[in-house]
Amino acid sequence: MFDTLTDRFDAILTRLRGRGRLGDAEVNEVLREIRVALLEADVNLAVAQDLIERIRARCSGAELAKYLTPAQQVIKVVNEELTATLGGEALKISYASKPPTVVLLAGLQGSGKTTAAAKLARWFRQQGRNPYLIGADLQRPAAVEQLRVLGAEVGVGVFSEPTDPVAVARRGLAEAERLGRDVVIVDTAGRLAIDRDLMDEVRRVSGAVRPHYTFFVVDAMTGQDAVQTAEAFHKTLQLDGIILTKVDGDARGGAALSVKHVVGRPIAFLSTGERVADFEIFHPDRLASRILGMGDVLSLIEKAEREYDQDVAGEAFERLQSGRFTLDDFLDQLRQIKKMGPLSGLLGMMPGLPREMRDAKVDERDVGKVEAIICSMTPRERADPSVLDGSRRLRIAHGSGTSTSEVNNLLRQFKEMQKMMRGVGPMAKLAGAGRSNLARSAKGNRKKVKGGRVTPSPKGLGPAR
């Protein structure tokens, strides 16, 4: 978890204050923490080790950067190395001069190939192409049927016949040519990398259609085994790219790093949901944050912006800052965040939170209780909780099916939050947030930098605290 990482790093690296360089001993300790984080994220052991050595090479003995804390500096290097490994050259699809461009999908059982095939088809259509789908998975019951249904949904034809995968692929390609399609996507059956017969079969399928692009489809929650499987598929098929699926879950996604590292081909696409539209081009920096457990901050922001009414959010924020944030506002916000998924999931996306909070068990039903309590108040009570005497609180407790102590608790915590938030700049006051980059990059904000350096703010308000 990032916050734990930063906290742990800080503890180790504060010893470096006053010294000009990152010492070996501290760097080693920090690297141990990083190793744990990477392994917890399912990055393959050997890949993690390799990454750590690269980070060590860049950090040991390095001069301390002027505007970063030592912890931030190390994290910066870690992030850069992760992003570099994940990124590099993005995949740019170039179409065959003599159509159709053939795309082959391969991977383990259940990785999401069939769904990805349909999504790819839709994506190609959006690019202005005229794709065709070939259902060469004759192993899984109703796989072809599934592809047909999805094909119909995205408006792309599907070819299959109950013969054998190689024949289907070959005949499907011929049919695509006959129909004048310019992209062909071949779905294949899931198979184990160690199954010689099936790996041989997929090699023959590949031979029959000679794909321009072979994509390895891999599940984001895959563990250490990702490396072995990817290597075997790569050896057999010469992969061109990777499609990472089920990214909408909360798996940290270290498998992506491992696969990219061993295969050396770009991660091309992400499959981010069960609908055919849930398909995107890959962004390395976001996955880097996620693997490190830094919370997918961008995602969180985007999610919030998608679900939140922007104007309402802006106004609510103003009220929060000026101390006019009411229980009504809170109720509105509560309802908004309910739309965004389980609280524990949201927590996971937020860096800068203390550990007890991130690891706490969240009972979603308690959120319902809070809602009920607030709804049992009159508008006046919500606007001005100071009128809430004992008998009112009792009434509210009865009305909401809770207890007076729960009502009291809510009011007390709410009041404390109001006090804390009043007059505070964006992102500044949360635990540890003062040191996080979120504070630094939010526009219009004064930079808070550890080490007492002065960053003149536009308003010339003097040194940062």
């Binding site: 109703a142 106004e315 929060l320 389980p342």
Partner: protein, 396 residues
């Protein structure tokens, strides 16, 4: 605690969204999906580059200043890991494949390491490192691995394991791992009263729920039970057809619903139908769902409530888990258990190279027993879980 958390979440979100909105406004700009002005992870202090929202054009190439990293193979695990094994002909007793032989196809990664370990004289820190590596590669996870090895170290220090004998250490480790499953009831429970027993299958997408049900249907039918299948996956295209094929193979009846129908009603109908026909067992399939989707987990809660209504007796809620899953398996187990009260795990795809070590972490944290193991796509590829066999297969 939940209250505090809720307040914090609201505050954070407001501060992040609202703050961005306001800062956009103060610059006289309309708030756009703020990919360009949103905070970015700490890679650089340079201002974030403006980027188009995703799903339109591909993004500009990442920072050209970072040198491309040459792809090199990691220091490879011993070659033993990749050999196609020749373990010898599988011994089958009365058609039941022995787990070890099925798994023998995937020659243990651990085997390579442990051969090294066995060859060493004396137990030293490097030995423990190798054991750590082996366990991590098996997806046991670093936390559980550390705990297991700490216990082992304590025994070595206390002298109860000879420090001159690496194979004693291995045996001790094996025994420790097997003992983690002590007291588990791996059997599948049937209801005592009249009315069909119901087993509900849950899990994330692509783990093998439908295939498992198919295999189990055949197995139970062969044991003389009348089986009814409930096609509770009403979301996935052709899911009902897929289960129907299995029903045919197993000689079982099936109740399907229309696409997009309420899964609870399909399962309810299946139970009713089973009751009226005197079928003793209902195997209920559900759509794969990520535990992070609130509405889908709510739907599953409802499915469970309906499944346990009389005349059905819901005696098992089985979480189907893919053996290739990494540490997220623990989160899955936790969330599904919280939502619908999982009674046991079905560990699938163990015939691959993945070891499924995450079940050790799950057992350790949640106490969930493993009731079934899937070792292939064929109708007979389903075996009971045997801890000793499982651990031995880990070690090759």
């Amino acid at each position: 605690m939940t209250l505090v958390i809720t307040l914090v979440v609201v505050a954070v979100l407001l501060l992040s969204v609202g703050g961005v909105v306001l800062s956009n406004r103060s610059r006289g700009r309309r708030s756009t999906p703020a990919v360009s002005s949103a905070p970015r992870p700490p890679t650089s202090t340079a201002p974030p580059t403006s980027k188009a929202p995703p799903a339109a054009a591909p993004r500009p190439a990442p920072d050209a200043a970072t040198p491309p990293v040459p792809a090199e193979a990691p220091s490879a695990p011993p070659e033993a890991a990749f050999e196609a094994p020749g373990i010898g002909a599988p011994e089958e007793e009365a058609g039941r494949p022995i787990l070890k032989d099925r798994l023998g196809r995937a020659r243990g990664l651990l085997a390579g390491y442990l051969d090294q370990v066995r060859g060493r004289k004396g137990v030293d820190e490097a030995t423990f490192e190798e054991l750590e590596e082996a366990l991590i590669l098996a997806d046991v996870g670093i936390t559980t691995t550390n705990r297991i090895l700490a216990d082992l170290r304590a025994k070595v220090r206390a002298g109860s394991i000879s420090s001159a004998d690496p194979s004693a250490l291995l045996q001790a480790l094996q025994a420790d791992l097997v003992s983690m499953f002590d007291g588990d009831d791996g059997s599948l429970a049937f209801g005592e009263a009249d009315g069909p027993t119901v087993w509900l299958f849950v899990g994330v997408n692509g783990v093998g729920k439908t295939t498992t049900i198919g295999k189990l249907a055949l197995r139970e039918a062969q044991a003389g039970r009348t089986v009814m299948l409930a096609a509770g996956d009403t979301f996935r295209a052709a899911a009902g057809e897929q289960l129907e094929t299995w029903a045919e193979r197993a000689g079982a009846r099936i109740v399907k619903g229309a696409d997009g129908a309420d899964p609870s009603s399909v399962i309810f109908d299946a139970v009713q139908s089973a009751a009226s026909r005197g079928a003793g067992l209902v195997l209920a399939d559900t759509a794969g769902r990520l535990h992070t989707k609130v509405n889908l987990m709510d739907e599953l809660r409802k499915v469970r409530r309906v499944a346990e209504r009389p005349p059905g007796q819901l005696t098992e809620v089985l979480l189907v888990l893919d053996a290739t899953t990494g540490q997220n398996g623990v989160v899955q187990a936790r969330q599904f258990t919280e939502a619908v009260g999982v009674t046991g795990i079905v560990l699938t795809k163990l015939d691959g190279t993945a070891k499924g070590g995450v079940v050790l972490a799950i057992r350790s944290e949640l106490g969930l027993p493993i009731k079934l193991v899937g070792v292939g796509e064929g109708v007979a590829d389903l075996v009971a879980f045997d801890p000793a066999e499982f651990v031995e297969a880990l070690f090759g």
